[in-house]
């Protein structure tokens, strides 16, 4: 799969191809869309199932759903404050979508939709637009005072205001690029070391022994990638809440 004519082909795993036969071909339904759908269904299913058969002493599934809920609820409360409660569903959906996207990508034959800049940029744009609209709704025109730091002399405003605006817009780029770059880098590394296993394994008698080294690296990398998958979803969610905090409290 990765080895084509003894070369390392680490990027073909990110290529899109239509799934679901003729229907998928007609509407360009790629495996990326399929895994987005799976992630949505799984996260909805997890929350529905864990809430439906709720018991005083939670079972495994209920404990999982409740700990996810409590985790994000606590984060939104800590970062945004009590006013942030009504934005909890938004942060929680974003977190679960990114988390399931990252974790599903760790399964063999699965596609990591968060490894496409188009997907992460769209997510970041949704967060950015939502946060800006919330800030505008709460503060009206006063929102634009966000770009003017208190205590700055007036003659510095022509420099400070464009810098602040650029800094504000750079949130979209940094939010999307961070997630995208982490997922791509991780999956490329996994693929490269997996290719080493195959290439070295074919080296005659010593092959299997030498190939054990990249295999060991890959075992470590899989664990590391699981950590990164969770961590990046967490970072995405916490940055969303920090931006929400700025939108709610402004200065």
């Amino acid at each position: 799969m990765a080895v084509e004519g003894k070369t390392i082909d680490a990027l073909s795993q990110f290529e899109l191809s239509p799934v679901l036969g003729v229907v998928g071909q007609a509407v360009s339904f790629s495996q990326s869309n399929l895994f987005m759908l799976i992630a949505t269904v799984l996260s909805c299913g997890l929350m529905l199932l864990s809430a439906r058969r709720a018991q005083l002493v939670p079972g495994r599934l209920q404990a999982l759903g409740e700990s996810a809920y409590e985790f994000i609820a606590g984060m939104v409360r800590d970062q945004v404050g009590d006013e942030g409660k009504k934005y909890f569903p938004f942060v929680f959906s974003v977190f679960m979508f990114v988390l399931f996207g990252n974790l599903l990508g760790m399964l063999p034959y699965a596609f990591t939709f968060t490894s496409h800049i188009a997907v992460t940029l769209a997510l970041a744009c949704v967060v950015f637009v939502t946060v800006t609209v919330i800030a505008l709704m709460r503060h009206g025109m006063h929102f634009f005072s966000y770009f003017v730091p208190e205590g700055a002399p007036v003659w510095l405003w022509p420099i400070i205001i464009p810098v602040e605006i650029i800094s504000y817009f750079s949130r979209v780029v940094s939010l999307s690029v961070r997630l995208f770059a982490n997922m791509v880098a991780g999956h490329v590394m996994l693929k490269v070391f997996a290719t080493f296993v195959v290439l070295l394994g074919g080296l005659g008698a010593v092959g299997p022994f030498v190939a054990a080294m990249p295999l060991a690296v890959n075992v470590v990398l899989v664990g590391f990638e699981l950590l990164v998958a969770f961590l990046q979803a967490y970072v995405f969610a916490i940055l969303t809440s920090i931006y929400l905090h700025d939108a709610v409290h402004l200065h």
Partner: protein, 99 residues
């Protein structure tokens, strides 16, 4: 007596949990490892620079002033990148918003 103190503590925790009391202020809980910091700083600088360059480029194309606005916004983007990193490293992560 001891049991009563324990109850007060638990009640306070439960009230804080439900948002009835003001929770104690906590700082931003982003991962604070050296690598995490380094990567975040890099991403912040590059993204501010990218936004500045794109804004300058588009304005230039619109107004036909190539390359002057591009150069101006390149510098602005660099300054914004440094500002982002400064905010990342400044002791109070959310000093802008002032609580």
């Amino acid at each position: 007596m001891n049991e009563r103190n324990g109850f007060e503590e638990r009640l306070r925790q439960a009230r804080t949990q439900r948002g009835l009391d003001k929770p104690p202020e906590k700082g931003g809980a982003l991962p604070q490892t050296a690598w995490g910091f380094g990567l975040r700083a890099g991403v912040e600088v590059v993204s501010a620079l990218v936004v500045g360059v794109v804004i300058g480029f588009l304005l230039d194309r619109w107004l036909g002033t190539w390359p002057w606005l591009f150069l101006v916004f390149f510098v602005m983007g660099s300054v914004a990148g440094v500002l982002n990193v400064y905010r990342l490293f400044s002791p109070k992560p959310r000093s802008r918003s002032g609580q």
